[in-house]
Amino acid sequence: MNMAGIVCRTLSRVVSSQTSCCSSVVSVRHSHWFTSILSPKTSVPLRAEPKKKKKVDPRREQMMKERLKKKLKKLERVPPELIPIEDFITTAKCFDETRVREVPKLSFEETERRALLLKHWSRYKFSQHQAEMAEIKEALEAQRQALEELKIESEDLYKAAIGPDTDLFPFQHQGPCYTPPIPNYEAPDGKYNDITRVYTQ
């Protein structure tokens, strides 16, 4: 540090001997190579050291990044949490004991009536099903015979008949309701708050 001070002084004397104007002395003082004597003598020589760190730091930073990436990969390997199916979870409300309904005890006649009605119903439904199946079978048979006749008549018409109908699907039809639709009816606006839970994986 003393050497630095001596260097500064000699240099300033050299410069001032060459040019005797104050501005040059001032400009010399303000240039970065010549620090003032009074300031702490730390700046110029220490700049030589950071050149060593340039090799070590990038390597260190790289190592840090790799470690972080590995940790992230380990975390990502965990399989995503499955979205719960809300239909399969019985709500806590169902296990509430205050909600149990008082069931009146059924008489013997009532249980008999119920059993007989259930059997009658199963017989009725079976006969209904048989009738439906027979009707469908009959209709299919009629169609098959019609196509056979058409084939006998003309091959081209037959081929056109068994070709697919592209305009049919998607097919839409308003099914039966309890009361017929009112003509020119303006339905009131239905406002609702949608509280469905949306899960993201």
Partner: protein, 285 residues
């Protein structure tokens, strides 16, 4: 071993005996009208003594649900009863019970209003009040009548809303006027489905109908009486195509020539032989 062998065998057999029909079948999907009309002239019923007709079986599907049978009524009542017995109390019912308990507590002599913490000066809306308000709102809505009674004629399509109806027409066949499904003679150069569509268009009423597929659902053949038999035509073959009416049609049709008819009523209109064939594909489901 046999099954896979059979799969490979069949197309080869068809190629050998079908005179190249396999390749024509594959082109069937992109079968355009131009292609058809070009080939039609060669093969159109050459030598066949039957004239072809296309007919449309136009159905108006039910608009309202059917009334229940006695057995169905009984069973639905039983099901509701059983479900009620096996269920838990809902929020609304709990509220009703609480309100009833609170009312009974209020009516007791040693009632202390300080015990009721929550309400203070607020108006208490009981669950019963809510129920009454809802009933009032329901009464304000007037739905349309389920059954129109017997006011409507056979020619109106608003007749039996709970059943599916079929359109019948009174047409001249030979010298007589006969009730039958709308039919029109087939012209060369069109598919039978197009004939059926033409038959539909010939009706004075403007109906929008969707045809259910290209294939006919039934056929009926009859011979002409001998004096009318022209050269080369012994009789006629009618192919029926099913169609479903899209939008309700309110245009009134002539009473004597049009009828919307249920399946059971068909026997009052159609001749027995015709009825036998038509009954096969008209479903009362």
């Amino acid at each position: 071993m046999a099954a896979p062998f059979r799969c490979i065998y069949r197309p080869l057999w068809r190629v050998i005996t079908g005179s190249g029909r396999l390749t024509v079948g594959m082109r069937n999907i992109s079968f355009t009208e131009n292609h058809f009309s070009a080939t039609n002239h060669k093969t159109a019923s050459v030598g066949s003594p039957w004239t072809l007709h296309g007919a449309v079986c136009l159905q108006r599907l039910p608009v309202i649900s059917q009334d229940r049978n006695p057995i169905e009524e009984e069973f639905s009542g039983l099901m509701q009863q059983m479900e009620l017995e096996r269920s838990l109390l809902s929020d609304h019912e709990l509220r009703l019970l609480e309100d009833a308990a609170r009312m009974s507590r209020k009516q007791e002599e040693d009632y202390d209003s300080d015990e009721e913490e929550d309400y203070g000066d607020k108006e208490i809306v009981t669950a019963q009040d809510l129920e009454d308000a809802w009933e009032q709102k329901l009464k304000q809505f007037h739905p349309a009548q389920r059954s129109n009674g017997d006011k409507l004629d056979v020619s109106s399509s608003e007749r039996c809303l709970a059943d599916s109806l079929v359109l019948l027409i009174k047409q001249d066949v030979g010298s007589q006027k006969v009730w039958l499904l709308p039919q029109v003679q087939w012209k060369a150069g069109e598919t039978l489905r197009q004939t059926a569509e033409r038959a539909l268009a010939h009706l004075p009423a403007d109906v929008k109908a969707t045809f259910l597929g290209n294939a006919p659902c039934g056929f009926y053949k009859y011979k002409y009486p001998k004096d009318i038999q022209k050269e080369g035509s012994v009789g006629a073959k009618v192919f029926f195509f099913k169609a479903v009416m899209c939008s309700p049609n309110h245009l009134p049709l002539e009473k004597n020539s049009f009828a919307w008819v249920k399946k059971d009523e068909l026997k009052d209109f159609l001749t027995p032989e015709y009825l036998k064939q038509v009954n096969r594909f008209i479903m009362s489901l």
